[in-house]
């Protein structure tokens, strides 16, 4: 998986950043916090401006990590053939 270094860096800083940046979006490249934004769109705009179509890491600073779920794919029950 790409962006593992950035994910580890984020996890190491999460508690600290919760104090200062709760519910904001951090833009990270490597082990560097580039900037903090109030929306995903603004963070993405800055990421593209700096790195173009290269990988960069955006994450909302929140206490609980949401777990995404797509039951239909997980269970293989989606049917989409007309």
């Amino acid at each position: 998986m790409e962006l593992e270094e950035e994910l580890k860096f984020f996890e190491s800083k999460r508690a600290e950043w919760l104090e200062e940046y709760r519910d904001k979006y951090v833009l990270i490249k490597g082990k560097e916090l580039i900037d903090v934004f109030t929306s995903l769109e603004d963070a993405y705009k800055e990421g593209v401006k700096r790195y173009g179509n290269q990988p960069f890491f955006i994450k909302k600073v929140s206490e609980v990590e949401p777990t995404e779920i797509t039951p239909s794919l997980m269970l293989g029950v989606t049917r989409a053939n007309l």
């Binding site: 998986m1 790409e2 962006l3 593992e4 950035e6 994910l7 995903l40 769109e41 993405y44 705009k45 990421g47 593209v48 401006k49 173009g52 179509n53 290269q54 990988p55 960069f56 890491f57 955006i58 994450k59 990590e65 949401p66 777990t67 995404e68 779920i69 797509t70 039951p71 239909s72 794919l73 997980m74 269970l75 989606t78 049917r79 989409a80 053939n81 007309l82």
Partner: protein
């Protein structure tokens, strides 16, 4: 308020096939503008079909589509699988639905080819508009 209606014929087709509609998936406009300024021609949008899945918390795009669009990841999400929670990359995507453009959505990738769709629209995108599922009439209405 723009309204888009999909009428299935016969109405029972909605039950059997699900809420399917045409869609285009492309790079977000911000990235298209950036590449164009650099003299790079962005990959063209990929056309196909999407299904609405109210059970999915996040939208999904077919891996081959992400690959053909040459999109780099912008994050990581924890996704529940049959093997437990796993980390998966998030990719920025632009969805062009009839009468609606969702310019930036962070999606995960999966092999959707067996389903004959290129995208699965989850609650992250549904949270941006109203959907009426009229089962008797075989009609789905989206209002933005």
């Amino acid at each position: 308020m723009p309204i888009y209606e999909v009428q299935f014929s016969p109405p029972e087709a909605l039950r059997s096939s699900g809420a399917i509609f045409p869609i285009e998936v492309s790079l977000p406009q911000i990235l298209v503008d950036h590449l164009t300024k650099q003299g790079i021609t962005p990959p063209p949008p990929v056309k196909g079909r999407a299904i609405i899945d109210t059970g999915a918390s996040i939208s999904v795009v077919d891996l081959l589509v992400l690959s053909s669009l040459q999109i780099s990841p912008i994050g990581v999400a924890t996704v529940l699988t049959t093997a437990g929670p796993t980390n998966q990359n998030l990719y920025p995507a632009r969805f062009i639905l009839p009468r609606l453009v969702v310019d930036l959505s962070a999606v995960i990738g999966a092999d959707l080819r067996p389903l004959q769709i290129i995208a699965l629209i989850g609650r992250d995108i549904l949270s941006r508009f109203i959907m009426i599922y009229h089962g008797n009439a075989g009609r789905v209405t989206l209002a933005f």
